[in-house]
Structures are given as C-alpha cells and as structure tokens.
C-alpha cells in the first residue's frame, strides 16, 4: 500500500517531512485543490497555505479538447536513489507518452545535474534540451522496507514548481507510486483526472479458435502484473468491474449453461448470481455498485433484469419479444442504455432505470451493439458494423453527434477509462488473434495496449484507492 502527502515548494533549506503515518490517500483526493502554486518565484517561495495567485496567461498546460495536439515535451530523468528510482521514472514517462499528450524528452546528459531532488533544477539547461516540463524525484528506503518517494513537477519556462508530493509505500508498490505520480502530472497539466493508477480486467485467450481457452484475468493498465483469476474449463465472457474496484461480474459458459458470477478480488471468493431458468449473460454493475443488470434468455427471448445485490430481489425491466441485452447505466444511475433488435436490426435504446420511457437513439446505417455509457455521462461508446467492417464509435446520449473512432476487420467491447477520455477495446485481425487496443475519445492516438498476448472483453477499473 502507499500513502502520500503534498510537498511544500522546494527551497534551499531542507523541508521537514510529514510523518508517513498520514491518512492513506486523503491528500491524493484533495490534489485538485492544493497542488498548484502559479507565479511563485523560486527565491521567495510562498508558504503552501497562501492563496494561489492568478494563473499566468502563458501557464504551462495541455488542451485536451483541441483537434490536433502537439504533445508537450517533458523530461523525466531517473529519480535519485537506487535502481527503483530509474524504474519509477520510466513508468511515469511511459504512462504520459501513451496518453498522447506528452512527449518524453531524452536529455540523459543532464541527468547528472540532479543531485538533490529538493533543489530547483538549472532550468536553462532543460530549456536547451527542449523540455517544457520537468519531473524530478528521489527514493529513500526506510529501515522498515518502505519507500519514501518525493517528486516535483517543474514549469521549465516559468521556472516554478507546479506540484510536489511525497509518497510512502511498501517496496513492492513502486509501480503504483509511479502511476499515481503520472496521474498527478496529467491532472496538473491537462486539467482532467488521470487514469494511470488503474487496472484492466479482461479475458485471456489462448489456443486455436475452435478450442480456445478463455480465462478471467487482470493486469495494471500498462500491462504489468497480469494474473489469471480462473483456470477452469469454462469459457469466460464479458467481465465488468464494480465501481469500488473490488468485485468483478462475468459470464461463465459451460457445455450446459451460462451463468453470471461475482468474483471478489479481496477474498478471491466467487459466487453465482441467482438461479434463473435459461441463460444469464451481459452483466454490468450499477454506478452505486448495489445492483447488477443482466440479460436472461428464456426460450429464445432475451430480456433485461436488475438484481439488488443486498436483497437479491430481481426485477424485469424489458418484456419485448426481441433481443434485449448489453445494459449499461448512466453515471447517475437514472438511465440504462441497451441493445435491442426490436426494430428489425440491432440498435441502441435508452430507458429509465425502472424500464420505462424506452426510446431508440441510433439511426445510422449499420448494426449497433455493445453500448457503454461514459463515466462522465457525456457520451455513449458502441460497436458499429457497417460495410463489412467493425468500428468503435461514440454518440451523445440523445443519439446526436455520432463519431466513429476506429475501422477494422473486427473491433468490439469498448470500455472507458475512468476519466472518460480513453477507450480500451479488443481488436481481432483477419487470421490472427485478438488483443487490446486503446484510442482517445477524439479518435486520435489509436495504439495497441502494452499487453500483447491474446485478450478480449476489457473492463477498465476506476482509479484505485
């Protein structure tokens, strides 16, 4: 586990560390309120408690809504202290680069300048190397095996510290510290929440197509630490992670049945969700985590049901004779978008969370499936089949402003990063296996996910606590 605290602005005299017993992550959550110190001169750093000065018009920032973005050049030299310092810097730089908004600057000749991460760097040299932002840090191993990691984000042109924090973490949590630092940098410079300290649940695929092994698996969003959660002969499909990140719901398909399971990541226990006549599939948590919506197929008719996880009471939301599946809640829990072929072909529909007020929202040519409501609420991602190709696309919840983000032989299963800016999905190439890809919601920055083995049905976790 890790904890963190905000660092005061760097100045020549060493500052006092706050004890590492600070409340776990309380300060991380307050980051948006506290971390910015614009306009501070390095010689006379104001105390952290002073009111922030108005932002300078030329303040360092990345506009994530512009159509074309020149990635911000950022230098992330190795943190001081042991090999893990270099490892942490590498993970930070990789996170930032993959976002598409940053370009790590290689200025290794300047690395040796950083001898004390709490002393302001020689900005002119970093400017000369082309960096507009600079991240410095150091790692100290405590006697109890914990790591203390300090980092500071600098505005190279305005010669000021933008963020400073200290983390305390067990030695094996160094990657999470790196992701949290990357999240803070991303947030400070883009204004949007980060998404790097997250995990992705997915289905690991191996073996030939006709005899494929499909196991539930989980990894860090950057592909590190993959591990299997099931190993049985059942085929696993469509895992989704709960809003608190602790539970997974998924479908296990055997020769005889399709059942929805709940898997608790803390206890590694799993339990089947309810006992229904017919096949149960397409589960998804409600935003409060207290309910699961899913489909039950009875005699060829799939309808959407909602189960309260505490009372285990189940309510049927749709009664149409067509296929009704793939329910996904709006972030406020008031509405559900789902997939239905009641109109003759698979299209997207929105209903109130009690099943009333159904209306169709997709009207373009082609077949629309797998709707997923953005965690920000502003968009719905989907898969669209048209012209023999598959696309991941987004539209507004009223169906307007449809945009296709990808085009390939077989794309499907979009899942949103918790900040609503990045979509992970699975792509299968003709003749090849499936693996995960990510794309920015703008349609730029399409790239394979770092995990290169066979994978489908990704589900992006919320930010870890």
């Amino acid at each position: 586990m890790t904890s963190s605290m905000r660092l005061p602005p760097a100045s020549a005299p060493a500052f006092a560390f706050t004890p590492a017993s600070a409340p776990v992550f309380a300060l991380v959550l307050a980051l948006g309120l506290a971390a910015v110190l614009p306009g501070a001169s390095l010689a006379q750093t104001p105390p952290a408690q002073s009111a922030p000065a108005p932002a300078a018009s030329n303040a360092l920032e990345v506009n994530v809504d512009r159509g074309v973005v020149a990635p911000l050049p950022i230098a992330v030299p190795p943190f001081l202290g042991k090999e893990v310092g270099a490892d942490i810097a590498r993970v930070i730089a990789a996170d930032l680069q993959r976002s598409g908004y940053f370009r790590p600057v290689n200025a290794s000749s300047l690395d040796a300048q950083i001898t004390d991460a709490n002393v302001p760097p020689r900005f002119a040299d970093w400017r000369g190397a082309g960096a507009q932002a600079l991240v410095t840090g150091q790692v100290v191993a405590d006697t109890d095996g914990h790591l203390r990691v300090d980092f500071r984000l600098w505005d190279v042109f305005n010669e000021q510290q933008l963020v400073g924090y200290q983390f305390s973490a067990s030695a094996d949590s160094w990657r999470r510290v790196a992701h949290k630092i990357a999240d803070m940098i991303y947030k400070r410079l883009t204004g949007e929440d980060g998404y790097f300290d997250t995990r992705i649940v997915f289905v690991s695929e191996s073996g030939p197509r006709a005899h494929r092994t499909k196991r539930l698996a989980i990894m860090d969003q950057d592909g590190a630490n993959p591990s299997f959660l099931t190993d049985g002969p059942e085929l696993v499909m469509t895992p989704r992670i709960s809003p608190n990140g602790q539970e997974i719901t998924y479908v296990a398909l055997s020769r005889e049945s399709a059942r929805v399971w709940l898997f608790n990541l803390r206890t590694n226990r799993k339990e089947v969700l309810g006992d229904f006549p017919g096949m149960v599939f397409a589960p998804r948590f409600s935003p409060d985590g207290g309910k699961v919506a899913f489909s039950v197929d009875r005699n060829g008719n799939s309808d959407i049901f909602l189960m309260d996880l505490r009372s285990r009471q189940t309510r049927r939301l749709t009664t149409d004779p067509g296929i009704d599946t793939s329910p996904s809640f709006s972030p406020d829990g008031s509405k559900i978008v789902f997939n239905s072929d009641r109109g003759g072909s698979p299209q997207l529909y929105v209903m109130d969370a009690d099943g009333s007020g159904v209306r169709r929202i997709s009207f373009g040519e082609g077949r629309y499936t797998t709707p997923v409501w953005s965690p920000k609420g502003d968009l719905i991602a989907f898969t669209k089949q048209t012209g023999g190709q598959f696309h991941i696309g987004v539209m507004r919840p009223d169906g307007s402003d449809e945009r296709l983000l990808t085009d390939s032989y077989l794309d499907e299963a979009p899942s949103w990063a918790p900040n609503g800016r990045v979509i992970v999905f699975s792509r299968e190439t003709r003749g090849g296996g499936a693996r995960l890809y990510t794309v920015d919601v703008s349609g730029r920055n399409l790239q394979p996910a770092p995990y290169s083995a066979g994978a489908t049905d990704p589900a992006w976790s919320p930010l870890l606590k």
Binding site: M237, N299, S302, I323
Partner: protein, 179 residues
C-alpha cells in the same frame, strides 16, 4: 471409443469398396462385376458376394450423426430455418420418436461477424427455433434443453464466408438415453 473405432473401420471399408463420396450413409456397393467373357454361351459365374459394410448401429449417437444429421445452418443474423434445415429436423424428429428415451441439447452457434453478447442472444434464438420445430413435430418438450454458445465455439477455422456459414448453426447433441 469402441463405436468410434467401428465407425472408422466402416468408413475405410466403404471407401475401399466404393470410391464415391457421399454425405448420406454410404449404401453398400458391390464391386463391379467383370464383363462377361465373349462368345462362350456359358452363363456368367455368379458375382462374388459383396462385403457389406456395417453402418452405425441403429439408435446410437453415430447413427444419429451419420444417418440423420446433427446440425442445421442459418443465414447471417437469421434464425429462421432453411428448407434443407427443415428436412434435417424432420429426420431428427422421426429418429427421436423412434428412440423415445433419447434426450438432446440444442446448441445455438453464431459466426464471428457480430459482437459477443448480441451473438449469444442470436445463438439462443437459433437453438429455440430448432427446439420449437422438434416439439411441433412430435418430440416431447421435456426431452430437449437448449444452450447458446454464441460465437465462442466455432467448428470451422478461418475467416472465409464458407467458415462463417458453417459456424452459423444449431447442433443437436445427444445427452442421454442412447444404446
């Protein structure tokens, strides 16, 4: 296992005796008799006794698979039965009435040209189309269960329309009651 071996031997025998390919159970074919000798006036010798391959034992799973057909196929994103599918299901219904202790599971399948959850529901509809047809043709509903495998259990590899067409099917699997 014994049945499979027998089936393989049967097939080998049939292939050796008659080099004709057929989807139907190969009817036993006698080797062609040599042409009668010319101008002898004597009656031709009786043809040699044909070695008749024994087909699968009636009422076995192999009998069902080989002589009836255990799979029907569907058009893209469709679950209505084709004419040839109805003929296969007519034979299935007759066979199941002949062997009333047999129980079956109808497994609906979809090709990969669709997304996972929708195709799962589509496979369920295909299985239901077969179940309904069999019930309408005299098979007791209690003998039939259904499951969808969606696009998870394809039988044909490859990304060709031919492979996709094979993977859009409903398979009638015998789950019990065979001899």
């Amino acid at each position: 296992m014994r049945n499979l071996t027998r089936l393989a031997l049967t097939a080998a025998a049939a292939a050796a005796l008659a080099a004709c390919a057929s989807h139907k159970p190969p009817p036993p074919v006698a080797p062609t008799a040599p042409p009668p000798p010319a101008d002898t006036g004597a009656p031709p010798p009786p043809p040699p006794v044909a070695a008749r391959p024994t087909g699968p034992l009636p009422g076995t799973e192999q009998d069902f698979v080989v002589n009836v057909g255990d799979r029907v196929y569907f058009d893209f994103d469709q679950y209505t039965l084709r004419d040839e599918g109805r003929r296969v299901l007519d034979a299935q219904a007759a066979w199941l009435q002949r062997y009333p202790s047999v129980t079956v599971r109808i497994e609906g399948n979809a090709d990969e040209r669709g997304t996972r959850e929708y195709n799962f529901a589509l496979g369920a509809r295909r299985a239901e189309a077969v179940r309904t047809y069999l019930i309408d043709h005299g098979v007791a509903a209690g003998r039939i269960t259904t499951i969808s495998y969606g696009k998870e259990r394809p039988i044909a590899e490859g990304e060709t329309e031919e492979a996709f067409a094979k993977n859009r099917n409903a398979h009638t699997a015998i789950t019990g009651g065979v001899r």
